[in-house]
């Protein structure tokens, strides 16, 4: 039996430590990892928990992230609860295997500490790695601070392992700003946390020798499409289980999560849509603008990046006049991915708000309250004019001449 760890009602944890504690409390059977900045402490701490008797499980040091995720796939197919962590280049090296994990419907939990992708090499936080995973068939949940990194990692096991889902789940947090910033975190006791997550329910496990199975079959044009479609449907419909798990979590802790978080949207005239730590910056800016400048600003944040909350976006932005969608990843030749999702959702509604795209914060470039305020002010100008007064895509917080693309065709 694993030893229990006595936790205080309030702990001072950074996002990494919070995530590692959630993995410990879920009593993961196998963590196979290749540590990488800034997510290193998650698996480093987990290794220590195993070594010190706090977990009945195996910690496997792999030869690369590709090997780490491959070992996770093997352990999950064998029938264990499996998790690991990664960032940036490590995420990119895992990418091929991420598709294998989801295609085989293995509910692995991957705690991703978001970091920019080289070149140029950079260890700071942006969403380049998170975006690279968006077609990989994983549930992607985004935490905006350390408490959420802890809470949502516990929820991730319960979501992915639900028999109606059976999909791997990523829990994202921003590199350094969340992962290395110590904050107050209210943990559950070991007993409460494990009771919430529950025992692992194996499905088609390879270690059941009475029912031998093949994993990783090849399918060509005759079968591949049907399997992908079935998997897509499972991910599209996983929102029901996500809602259920968030409800149960609220009952247990009083902390309420939603697939689409909304702040001050009841009467908002202008809005920022963002992910990660930027959400808290934008909320702070919105509060000040409401008080100081009378701008009815609100913030919308997809908690669930995949499955994407289309219906909730439609409702949240139905009465908003101008929307700024913030992408913390360089789209390289297109509009930002989040912008495209929002426009896709709004295109089928009569609301037709003015929507523009801001690229910001690449490679950990600070996104200040004043930056958020300026974006809100531009939305206010759009709302007052009744048309888009700027280019469709602008770069925020960039040195040098203003960089922007595409004239609006609506006026």
């Amino acid at each position: 039996m694993a030893d229990k760890m006595e936790l205080n009602e309030v702990e001072v944890w950074d996002g990494n430590y919070a995530a590692s504690q959630a993995l410990r409390q879920a009593q993961v059977d196998v963590v196979a990892a290749y540590p990488i900045t800034p997510s290193t402490p998650i698996v480093e701490n987990y290794g220590a928990y195993v070594a010190n008797g706090y977990v009945d499980g195996e910690y496997v040091m792999a030869e690369s992230e590709h090997g780490a995720m491959s070992a996770c796939v093997g352990a999950a197919a064998a029938g264990g609860r499996v998790a690991t962590a990664t960032s940036s280049q490590g995420f990119m090296l895992m990418l091929e295997v991420l598709y294998q994990a989801s295609g085989m419907r293995l509910p692995i939990v991957l705690t991703v500490v978001n970091r920019a992708v080289a070149s140029p090499l950079n260890v700071r936080g942006d969403h380049g790695d998170m975006y690279a995973g968006r077609d990989s068939g994983w549930v992607q949940i985004d935490a905006f601070n350390a408490q959420e990194a802890y809470d949502l990692t516990l929820c991730a096991f319960k979501i992915g392992e639900d028999l109606d889902v059976r999909l791997p789940v990523m829990v994202h947090q921003d590199g350094f700003v969340t992962s290395h910033t110590a904050q107050n975190v209210y943990p559950l006791s070991d007993e409460e946390a494990y009771a919430f997550v529950g025992d692992y329910k194996p499905v088609d496990e390879m270690l059941d020798f009475s029912r031998p199975v093949t994993y990783g079959a090849q399918t060509e044009e005759d079968w591949h499409y049907e399997h992908k479609a079935k998997q897509h449907k499972a991910l599209m419909e996983s929102y029901k289980v996500i809602d259920k798990v968030f409800e149960e979590f609220e009952k247990k802790t009083g902390r309420k999560y939603n697939r689409l978080e909304q702040y001050m949207m009841e009467d908002a005239e202008v809005a920022i849509v963002a992910l990660g730590t930027t959400v808290e910056t934008a909320i702070y800016a919105a509060e000040q603008l409401r008080k100081d400048e009378g701008i009815k600003a609100g913030v919308v944040a997809p908690r669930s990046f995949r499955p994407f909350p289309y219906n909730e976006i439609r409702e949240a932005l139905a009465n908003v006049k101008s929307v700024a969608v913030l992408d913390r990843s360089c789209p390289m030749g297109a509009m930002g991915a989040l912008y495209n999702e929002i426009c896709g959702a709004m295109a089928s509604t009569p609301a037709n708000p003015l929507v523009t795209n801001y690229i910001y914060g690449l490679g950990g470039r600070d996104f200040a309250v004043e930056d958020a305020k300026n974006i809100f002010r531009e939305q206010k100008a759009n709302a007052d004019a009744g048309y888009i007064t700027t280019e469709l895509q602008q770069f925020s917080g960039l040195r040098g001449p203003k960089l922007a693309f595409y004239e609006a065709k609506r006026s």
Partner: protein, 148 residues
């Protein structure tokens, strides 16, 4: 040409000729179960007695992939098991170390068994797929004299 120990289920359909069910009926995670029922100590059960499912390659035939085939000559064979050991597709059927013949549902005609056969003349030789086995046996070569 079913070959020896072919059961009702061995090679009952061409690979790829499965029933083409829709997305709602394919297995979750492309997981394929080898057997229709639970099994115990299956390694100790002979293949023809195992409850192979339609997902197992045992029930599919790939005979059509072959253009040449090995023919087995019992009269020359010394039951050394070399072919059984080397066959990459477990298509040599042997029982109690006695060679029985070839699983023509799964043999690809690679010729490895012929290559490793140590007898003189060989107990396995490659013939055209269309050649009748009896006719092939009638043409079997004589023992070669050792060259001095």
């Amino acid at each position: 040409m079913k070959g020896v120990l072919a059961t009702e289920k061995r090679g009952i359909r061409e690979l790829g000729a499965e029933e083409m069910v829709g997305w709602d009926e394919v297995t979750q995670g492309v997981v394929l179960h080898s057997f229709d029922t639970e099994v115990e100590n299956v390694a100790h059960i002979r293949p023809e007695e195992r409850p192979y499912s339609d997902f197992n390659s045992y029930t599919a035939t790939v005979a059509s992939w072959r253009v040449i085939k090995p023919v087995y000559n019992r009269d020359v064979c010394i039951d050394c098991q070399n072919c059984w050991v080397w066959c990459p597709d477990t298509s040599i059927i042997s029982r109690d170390k006695q060679m029985l013949g070839i699983d023509y549902d799964h043999c690809k005609g690679c010729g490895v068994c012929v290559e490793v056969c140590p007898t003189n003349p060989k107990s396995l030789l490659m013939f055209a797929e269309a050649e009748d086995n009896e006719e092939a046996l009638a043409k079997w070569p004589e023992k070669k004299k050792k060259e001095k």
